[in-house]
């Protein structure tokens, strides 16, 4: 199972960033996210898997696809990436990956001796609303502000029109 998911994730990840059709990219991304949620299931984090599926795969990707539809032709093909750019980027990415992997493999992880906690919804709910140690009510509150702000921000930026249609003169000449 793990092998399947991981192969899927890696392949689709790479496809996401290399395919020349934008909608396909979105689809591959969706697949990556879905396989990730499969991993979460494997890890026994069902709640997270669900969140991943709904919020990530469902929410964000849909958002992305909408925006693609707004801004591009579906069949639009990208021009191939400049060779120099792709080589250097790949080089950077590969160096980084090798560095990270070598470093990770170099490190001896030691598993906790304490007993695992069964993650059920109740526990999650309690933790989320707890003000004690390991309680997450404060981030929960703050993230709501963030969501509010993001909403307002998105609206204000994307909203069309306004009282003044006149384009303000562009004073900037870099």
């Amino acid at each position: 199972m793990f092998v399947l998911f991981s192969v899927m994730i890696i392949v689709f990840s790479i496809l996401t960033v290399t395919t020349r059709r934008i909608l396909r990219a979105a689809t591959y991304l969706l697949l990556v996210l879905i396989s990730t949620s499969g991993l979460y299931f494997m890890l026994n984090y069902q709640f997270m898997a669900a969140v991943q599926l709904t919020l990530y795969a469902g929410g964000i990707v849909v958002l992305i696809i909408f925006s693609i539809l707004l801004t591009s032709h579906i069949s639009q093909k990208f021009e191939p990436v400049g060779l120099k750019k792709s080589v250097f980027s790949a080089l950077a990415a590969i160096t980084g990956a090798i560095l990270s992997i070598v470093t990770i493999l170099d490190y001896k992880f030691s598993a906790s001796v304490e007993a695992a906690k069964e993650v059920d919804m109740r526990l999650i709910g309690r933790s989320l609303l707890s003000v004690e140690y390991d309680g997450y009510v404060l981030p929960f509150e703050v993230i709501s502000i963030l969501l509010l702000a993001a909403m307002i921000a998105a609206i204000i930026v994307a909203k069309k029109g306004g009282p003044s249609k006149t384009k303000t003169p562009n004073y900037n000449k870099g």
């Binding site: 960033v17 964000i60 990270s100 870099g174």
Partner: protein, 105 residues
Amino acid sequence: MITGVPVQYFLILATLMFFAGIYGFLTRRNLITMLMAVELILNSVNINFMAFNRYLYPHKMEGMFFSLFVIAVAASEAAVAIAIIINIYRRFATINVEDVNEMKY
């Protein structure tokens, strides 16, 4: 806990995904695909958190919660970014990142 799969595998998987995202961010010309690359990056980080939490620190849920919040943040980030991208599209009539370079030097 998945028997036979050490935590390192997860980490390597996430790392590969992470750098795939990085590569995408650096090469994709379309702003939206860049955004997608960012999502890849965030997703890979989430895998890390989850795997660590499950393998090494299963008695607490910090990693998991972190992932949860990362997803939320990613969502809002995506929302704002897409709003701006739409605005860019209106202004520049393109969402090719290489054309969005009026300011330089």
